[in-house]
Structures are given as C-alpha cells and as structure tokens.
Symmetry: D2
Subunit: 380 residues, 4 copies
C-alpha cells in the first residue's frame, strides 16, 4: 500500500460519494514540531500555483497535499499577469482556484488564505498579496501601467494595503542578471512607504543569506515558501519549504497578526532561520536530556530529539568543566525523532554538580551565518 494509492483513493472518493459512505485514510508525512508555550506553532506555505495560472494541478490537489503534509495554512497565489492556460478556462476570476478549493480546505481543517501574485519584471520583481479581498482589481493595474517596466508598482501595492493585505517580496534573486538578490532603489521606496512587510528568505530549495540579513536589519517578516508549480512529490521524512508561524491562535486572524508582528521562522530541508527569540524555544522544547554518571571520569547523556528537525551540533566550549573532546567528534547530529547515547569524559566528574556545555546549532541560524547557541545543561 503506497502513497500513490492512498492519494489516489482520495480522488476516487469524489466519484463515489453519491453512492457509498466512506472510510478513507491519509497517512501523513508531517514535520513533527514541539509545543511552544504561549503559541501555536503553525506550518504554512503562502506561495503556490495551480492550473489557474502556470501550475500543473487542480486546486483541490493543493489542499490534499497540504493535508498529507500536516500543514495548517496555505495560499493559492495565482499570477495576475501570467495565465498561460487561460484560453482553456471559462472563468476570468483570479480567485477561481480559491473558490474551487475552499470546500475541501474547510472539511480537512486547513486554513485557506486568499492570495495572489503581482508579477513584474525585476526590478521590482514579484510580490505576494495575502488576505486579498479583490484580486481582479489588479488586472486593471496591469492594463494601466506598463508591467514590462514595473511602473507604478507602488500604486499597485498601495491598493493591496488598502484592502488590508499582507505583502511580501518573492525570491528577490529571480531574473537578476547575476542570479543574486539586490536591494534596489524601488525596493527602498516601497519599504519606506510601508508597502512591503516581508521577504522570502527561502523559495523552494534556495535560501539566501543576504535576504535573511535584510529581514533582520529592516525588521521585515521572514518568509519561506515552496512556490510549487508541479505536483508535490515528497518522500517520507522530506518536507517542503515552509514558514513556521507563532500564532496566538490557529486561525486566519491569528496568522495575520503573527505575520504583521514578525513572529515567523523560515524552515527548509531541516534548517531553521529566524530571530533568536523564536527559534530558541523550538530547539529547547525539542530536546530532552538525561544524565548518568559512570565514574569520576565518565558520564553518559541520553538525549531524545522529539522533533522532526535533525539538529547538527558543534561543541564550542566545555572548558569551564574541564571537558576535552575527541576532535573527530566535536560535530554530531541528533536525528529527527531519535534517541542518542553520548559518552563524555572529563578529568574529574563530581556527583551532584551541574555541568553545562556550549554548543552551536549549525542548522539553526539567528543571523546570516550565525548559528544559535544552545547551552546543554545536565546534573550528575
């Protein structure tokens, strides 16, 4: 029994529903996250496409994929200006994919956010507009200004703001002649006017450290999205790029409030990028440490990682307690959902003493190239 068959079963249900009651199962491939006191830690993807712009799947498939991956919220963000299949479709509504997917999302408990993608040549580039009320109005902006030159993008995003939307800049490196991100004059203008609230630090399989730096320096919300066009094909234990949102409650309003207040973490292929105040509790609540002394020279740590994120650790300082390390082993990884036994040696372990070891969490960054520091404490 495989994933293909399980998903296939779901689509068959649509055919059969009129005939038979049904008992259908989806085996999830869901990134396990620890509970964070005070917040709901929500898994979100705010950038994806369906056949209603240049994607390859029907809108409900995006909901089924999200359900299988245990996502809390998604947005179908069709291009306003690029709809290569439009001659095949009767509807010209830019939220048609939302309308089609809405029922399945509700049934499966997935928060479906209205969104669209404003698609201009770089500069200024592409912008996602979340919590949009009227997407079709942007069609007239394409007609009015010349999208080739990206004129009047400020006017366009002002309309988005007027609708109460949350706007972020997508993949800032896209279509740049050198394939790198550049903060140009137009971006400064949009930023100064408060028309951009976040940027994609991660899009698909690319992370950009410069963009992460911009977010931290300019207090913009860190975003990470799949921008998936094709069907989502993931093996067990493999996850799409997503934005982890620390929301006060699991609702559309809760997500919007968290985005506006920058409580997000970019998550990509087992790496986290975010402010220290948000990533630190994720790491600390992922690890359960127990210590046991063997003799005055040896102790054993049992560390369980209850999260789906593998932590890559580097020992930086244990000198205060006269640790020394076997050098080939100063880097080590606590795999996802794993239990680990670590034998440590010292010149003199004393019963009842609390020891602490400083570690860099190499795959969790709190600044561009700057790993989170994690203090592993244990008492013998």
């Amino acid at each position: 029994m495989n994933k293909f068959i399980r998903i296939r079963a779901l689509s068959i249900i649509l055919v059969l529903l009129t005939v038979l009651p049904v008992f259908a199962q989806v085996k999830k491939n869901s990134l396990k996250l620890p509970a964070i006191p005070g917040y709901e830690l929500l898994k979100c993807d705010f950038h994806m496409h369906t056949v209603f712009s240049d994607g390859m799947v029907w809108p409900t498939t995006r909901v089924l994929e999200a359900n299988q991956e245990g996502l809390d919220a998604i947005a179908l963000t069709e291009h306003i200006e690029y709809t290569p299949k439009s001659e095949d479709f009767t509807s010209k509504d830019h939220l048609r994919s939302y309308a089609i997917a809405e029922k399945s999302a509700k049934e499966l408990g997935i928060i479906l956010i209205k969104g669209t993608e404003i698609t201009r040549r770089m500069a200024p580039g592409h912008f996602n507009v979340l919590f949009v009320k009227d997407a079709n109005v942007f069609e007239t902006f394409v007609n009015k200004d010349d999208t080739r030159d990206g004129k009047n993008i400020a006017e366009t995003l002002a309309e988005a703001k007027k609708q109460g939307a949350f706007v972020f800049w997508n993949h800032p490196w896209f279509q740049h002649p050198e394939n790198r991100s550049e903060w140009q004059k137009i971006h400064e203008e949009l930023y100064q006017k408060g028309l951009i609230s976040g940027i994609e630090v991660v899009n698909g399989d690319r992370y950009d450290s410069l963009v992460f730096k911009w977010c931290l320096d300019k207090n913009l919300t860190v975003m990470s999205n799949s921008d998936i066009h094709a069907p989502m094909v993931l093996f067990p234990g493999q996850y799409r790029a997503m934005t982890l949102v620390l929301a006060k409650d699991r609702s559309e309003k809760g997500i919007q409030e968290a985005l506006v207040n920058h409580r997000t973490i970019a998550c990509m292929e087992g790496q986290l990028f975010g402010k220290e105040e948000w990533v630190k509790p994720v790491v600390e609540n992922s690890l359960i440490v127990k210590a046991r002394q063997i003799n005055d020279k040896t102790a054993i740590l049992e560390i369980e990682n209850i999260s789906g994120i593998p932590y890559k650790l580097e020992l930086t300082d244990a000198s205060g307690i006269k640790f020394r390390l076997n050098s080939p082993l100063n880097d080590f990884t606590l795999d996802a959902l794993s239990q680990n036994t670590i034998t440590i040696s010292s010149s003199n372990f004393v019963k009842g003493t609390e020891y602490s070891v400083k570690l860099n969490v190499l795959n969790v960054q709190v600044g561009a190239g700057k790993p989170l520091e994690y203090i592993l404490k244990f008492r013998l």
Copy 2:
C-alpha cells in the same frame, strides 16, 4: 537535490524558455527490463485521466511523469460521460487533453495514443477505446441511449470498431455489488460480436486472477494500467501498473499490431502475468548464472539479476541430481538489479557435469495461480 525539485524545475522551464537556453535533467525511475530477441519490450499505460475529465493534473504532467518513469507509450483516456470540471473549461472536445500534451510527448519521445473511456454503469461497465479517431461522436451515443442502463453498448463499441480502435474492458470488478468480476450476458454478447479485444487483469493496485483466466481461455489481450487520477507519486524502485508490449517496432503501429495479436504482459508491483511464451524470455534474459565447484559436496552459483523485477523462486525439484534442501531456504528472492551467491550442497558433485534445478517463479504467472517453471542450468 530531490525529485520534487527536479520535476519542479521542468515546469519552471516553461516560464523561462523565452529568456534562456536551458540544460535540464530528469533522473528517471525506470523499470529496467532485459532485451528480448526479436521484439521491443515496451512499457505502456493505456488508462489515465487529467483535469479534462475527473483527473487532477494538467495533460502535460502525464507526459512528464511517463518520461520520468521511462514509459514508451501512454493514452489519456478521459471519460466521455463524466467530466465534473467541464463548466470551467471552454473546450468541449473529448481529445483536448491529447491536443495539449501532444507537443511534449513528441519532444520527449513518448508515443501518445489517442484514447477515451466509455463509462457505463456495471453491467456492462467501463471500456477504453485506443487509437480512436473521433471521440466526440460518442457524446451523441450518451444522449441517444440511456447510460444509466447501459443500453446500446454494442452499438457504441461497434462505432469504435468502425474507427479501427482497440477496445478493452476496464476493472471488471468495479461497481459490482460484491466487488468481484463477473462475466455477464452482455459481456458474452460483446465478446461474441468481437467488440472486446482485451481486459484489464490489473487496474491500479488490484490484480484479479479470474480475469486473467478469462483472458487466457478466451484469447483476449492481457491489459494492466494505472488508471491514475491524482498526481503519480512513486518512490525510487516503485513502479506503476503497466502493460508490457512485445512490439515488432517502437511505434504506434507497432503497439497496435502487438495488442491485436495479444503479445502483452501485465506488470504490477514486481509481478508479471502473461502467456508462457511471452514471460519466459523475460525471465531467462534477466538472469545470468555462473557456477563454481568447491569440492565434491559443495558448489557456488553466482546469479545476477540484470532486470528491475525481483524474482521470487521456489525450488521444486532437484532430485535427479540428488540435491537436498535446507528446508527454511527453499524459497528465495533475487532482488532487482542484484548479485547473489548461492551455496548448494549435494552428496556427490562431479566436475564437468551439467546440473539443472527446477524452480517455480512465484511472482511470474502463466495461468491463474500457476507460476512459471524455470530451469536453472549450470555446468561445474
């Protein structure tokens, strides 16, 4: 770098093609088959759906999936009578998905066969019409007769035959009240009139031994298809149900000739179902055997399986050469693309003698419940 990203890259290309020349790679997950003297052994899937009936993906995606799996030929077989998304589409053409997918198929060297699915309640059930010339004509057959009762199916299939099409009966167990296949009066009538040429022995993940028996008894072509509606999600080493066709040449005509003359094998999850004359050369050309004598009691066989099909073998008779078996080990498997060392013992091995061992190939059936017999020969 993962499969998801690779496939995604392909769809991005569509966007970029106007801008940049491209060097794009698809890592295939293709079932490796041995060469069969005198024939091209083609991997085909003659039953699948896209958004243009009740499938969930755009037609070109079916071509990309087929390319990734190394298929030689596919048919997009949209339902004539069941098009739940039709209000969203401008075209009423029942071969619209063919028209959209044609260019990609040609570029990637995949044979795209025109097909459609005649969809009646059981009995008579569903029928695929391959090599169809005019699919839209069947629309009028729906209007004319009452599909609810499946009247005039003979008239409908006669039209298919008039077009020179190849017709087969799909998943004969579908919608049967007991979920089993039943040869009803209407099927006998269609068969007597020569209006059915094959039956699906396999559909998706279900194989039906009774249907296999019908095919052999009535000389109907053995068919095996995915009937995929959702995106195709396969892990490496996992393959869809497919019909292996022994064609005289790799072309649409070659496939049609082979189907008409029953030269097919049903292939599903590492199992083959077909006439002995077609499956035997597949097995024999998959295995390379070398023998080495250790002493008068022991010899070693080195068996390489150069195919992607794992062979499950059961020793049935080695008595002629005074073999005896360690009973827990009389079943063994030669994994896909594997090398195996097998130690055999006898009371008296004689140098220069040819030995032969009779084995049942449990996963290759030449009759319902009847495994292929394979004679493993080696000379010491």
Copy 3:
C-alpha cells in the same frame, strides 16, 4: 556519517581511552513504546551467542548492539555442549563472555543477565537457563548423561531450578524432522515437574502459532528472542525479535519477577503476541484520537500513533452507528510514529454524540490467530 562509522567509533574509544577524554555518540535505532501505567515496559533479548560458543562477535559487541537498539536487558547464552572455537580459548569458563561484557553493560546501563543454553538433540531440544549461578556445573551433566539421547534432561533442569534459575524451551521446531513444533512426552514430563517456565513463541524471524497456544493453555511465559549468532545488522526502523517485559521496576530482580509471573509480550517484526491484559494497554497507550465533525454526513478523525509499532486495523463493526465502509478500505495501517487523517461518512452524524467503532488489530494477537479487539471511541 553512517551507522558503521558510528559503531566503529565506539570500538576505537577503547584504544584511545588512556590518551584522550572523549565525547562519543551512538544514534539509537530503538523501538519506541508507550508508557504503561503501573509497569516499566522493558525490551529484552534472552538468547544470543558470542565467539565463546558458536557466535561470531566478541561479547562487548552484544552490549554495544543492545545499546544501539535501546534494549534494557540481554543474556549471553553460550551453549554448554557446543563450543566449536574452544581450542582457541584459554578459558573453559562457560560464563567467560558474561565476565568480559559486564563492565560495558554496567556503564551503558544495560542489565546483563547470566545465562546459558543447555543443548540437547530434539527431543527434548534446547533450553535457556537465565539467572544461572554456576554454569560450569552443567558441563559435568554432559559427561554423565548421554546428550545424544537427551537422557536425564530432567535432572539437568532440576539443577537449574536449584540455582533459582528461570528455564525456557528454545525454538521447539528446531531439528524436528518436519520442522514443526511437537509437545512430546519428555516435554510433558518436564512441564509436570515444573522444570519449564516459558517457551520461545518467536526465535529470530520465526513465529509459531502452536507454541503461542501452548503458552496460553499451559500458563507458560511467552518468550521472543533473536538467537543471534552473526553480527546484528538492522536498518533504521527494523528491530530484532524481543521479549517485552512488564516489570515492576527496571532491574534484574524486576525482570525475574515478571518472567515468573508471565507478564511478557512476544514482539517480532511489528507484531505482538501476548495475553490480552498485557497487549491491550500497549495499543491503547499508543494511539491518540481526535474527532472533528464536518457536517451531518462526514467527520474526520486525526489518529496519532506515538509508538514504533505499526498497527494494522480491520473494521469489524460500526453498524450500531450506521457506518458503512468503502469496502477496499476496511483494512488500514497506522504506521509507526505517524499521524493519520481518516474521513468517515455516516447517514447521520449527531453533534455531541459518542461513537465507537470495533476494530481488529491484525498484528496484535491475544490467541493463536485471534487478533486483539480495539474499540475506537470518539465524540463529535
């Protein structure tokens, strides 16, 4: 970084310990089990060999393997009568492997139980003696009686009993001419005299339903062991055969008390065999169920399996609440450490009502061929 390298690192440590303090990690591949109120659920393997009988590894390797798999207790049970490498060893002590492994076991917190294997031809077969005090005394029993005929086995096991040992019969099918288990006169005699307290229902990769029946009928302790001779090679998520012991505390005494009082479960390749009163709490504490009503016809269950055991479920009765099932889906599996969404349909769901569904847990047996019945309850 792979398992091979990690384990290899451990053995290097032995060389280096005099030179350097060390920080060494073992990534465990440990079967995750739920907490059971009132008991410690311990993972034990009471049957294995080292180079000191016919095994292939040094005794400490068995401790490292056990640590990597997160076992709580093991016994090295060398054959008294079969020590093919003895000419290479200076020691004739039958507990030499225990003496060598003792220190590592203590350091890694693994309970190492003194054991040995009394090895007679069938009948009577092989018997493991746990908590043995003097193993060498059995050497004289070999000399005194004729092991070829298995005479005086009662006298031998009486000596074991005198030492306060726990005796169980190993792989009762071994060396039987038809490779099946048979309760012979000698076994009845030993049983009547109280000289056998348990039997291996599982040995390595073989489970025997007849032996399970004997255990339940005769109130003997259910045992499951690896009987490993070669190095233990397991892929992640693959586990050896083990005896799950419901002990009052995690200690040698605790294990002995539980064995004597039959509080064990045989565990093999994702299957459990045991008395209903012991397996039921394992299943119930593995599954967390949440329900959500969509409308009067549809509800969604979110089921998390927090254990490493995959549960194969079969719906047997939901008639009381007018469930009906989509027949191809009445069997389903909740994978290890998985989250699952199950959509259920009914003719009329009523808010606030508690529903219950009867399921057979096909891979958890409470009698030979008799699955555990599990009542899945949820309130809408």
Copy 4:
C-alpha cells in the same frame, strides 16, 4: 526477509552442515563497476581487524562480509604490538586469523592475502605489510627496539621487504597532535630507502588530500581501506572504503603486481581518487550516451550510468557550440545505475553535427582538488 536474517542463516549453516545438504543464499550489496579493457578491476580492502587483535568479530565473519559486498580480495592485518584480548587466546601466532579464515575464503572465491600491521607511535606511525611470509618474526622486533620511540622502524620494514612484502603507511594523520598528516624526517628516510610503497589516501571515512598529493608527487601507490574493527554494517547502496586494483588477472600475484606498479584507485563514499590514466576509463565505461534532436533549438540526451558510482558533473565549457546554461542547473548528478534525460538548448542545432561538452567530474579527482575532465560527445 532481511539482511540480518540472511547473514545469520550463513552462520547457522556451519552448525547444520554435518546434518543436511544446503541451499543458502547471500544477497550481495556489491558496488557495480564497468569492465575496463585490458584489466580486471578488483575491489580490495587491505586493512581490517578481528578478535585476534583489537577487532570485534571472528575471522570468518570478515570473509562473509567481503562476500556480501562482492569484494575480490581482503587482508586481515592484526596488530603485532596491540593484542588486548591475547590472554583469552591459546595461540600466539600473528597469522592465526588468516589460518581460521582461509577455508571460507577459498570456498567463496575471495583472495585472502596474508598481512599484518606494524604499530608504532607517530612518528613513524602504523604500516601494513601485505604478502607477509612470517609475521611472528616482527614480535622480536618489538622486544628489540623501543616501540614507544619508533626506533629501528627502518630495520623492521627491511625485514618485510626481505620477505617480498608490499608495505604501505596507514592513516598518516593518526595520533598527530593536530590530527593532520605530516611527512616527517623518518618518512623521508623510509621512502628514500624504498621501504614504503604506498600510503592510505583513505582510511575508513577520512580522505586526506595532502596524502593524495604525496602519492602522485612521489609515485607511491594510492591505498584506500576500511580499517574496520567492529562488524561491518552497511545499508544497501552504501559501500566500505576500498582500493580498486587494475590487475592483469584476478589472483594474488595479479594484485601484487598491480600494487607494485601503482595501478590503483582509492574509492570512498562514491568518490574516486587516482591517476587520470586509471580513473578515466572507469568513468568513460560507466556512461552510455544517446542524443536526439527535437528542433533547431532543442536536443535530448539519454545518459545511462551503468555503474554503482554516482557521477557529479559540472558543465565547464560548451561555448564552442553556443550552449548557454540555466545557471541553477550547471551541476547535476547521474545517480548510480540510473537513466537520465537531459534537455539541452542552443541557438542553433544542426543535424549531423557532432557536439562536445566539457564537464568536470567533481567526485573523481586526478589530483588534490583537481576533478577529472570528461568530454561528453554526441552527434545529432
């Protein structure tokens, strides 16, 4: 049926051989290599340990492991000076492990080479002596000189040379205070006297580029070995470090001649290190390329990698034929035993023309940090 069980079956056979003839299977996990015209490409591991020095397994286990991995030759190289388990063994013979393993090796067709490890503190470090005739003589060298200071290593290796042995320096970084390789005065002396013929460029999971440079500069034989102490635990598709030997025939003599004449390649985790003249034919015979033109702007390459080595390719120059690359995709990997479709675009493809593309094979190095250049040629 798993690997553990298969290997376990083999050891059980030893017990049963007197009773029953046997039909036993080993599923190999063997690195597939292409045929190289003029040579046998042999997979060898010349450095490993058993319980007879500081290893953890019985000698025959090393042969079974080698058989499972499809190795052609191995050497059990016990330390002369470090035998921590010696008090348990009756034999003081330093080739005792060879004597025990010899019969199995012969039966399974594995070339077992007599070897030992001369173990001095750095400097000079450890040296493996292959094709040794009398290992015990080195015992007296330990007594005579002071191993603590490594005096008289030249005298020791001269004895090895007198026996016609092939001597190589092991893991030159081992016990260096900074954990790096250093060519010290003593090594220059040994080299000048012709007492070292090769060096380990790879030991276990460590490759040292400086050592590779030494080998090429000083014309020393490139060696790569596992130095395995614990049991060998490999997942399918994972291989130990090994030395690929281009021998004129598959024999002990053939291997010795090839080692003396430097015809070796170091192979570790899908990487090859060696002289261009030896690695180039491996790559070229691994890849089968077919081209197909779609139109004047697009062509398709079908590349099959028939080897078990994944090739990581980087496009360096296609300017001569006016290729341009989609920049995120100028690196790509041809997985082991894979088929790949590569779409290439150009401004103007001309039918009948031969095109060539220069690629760096990033995982195949012909100098320290210098990838092999591979010219991919195709005709449209």
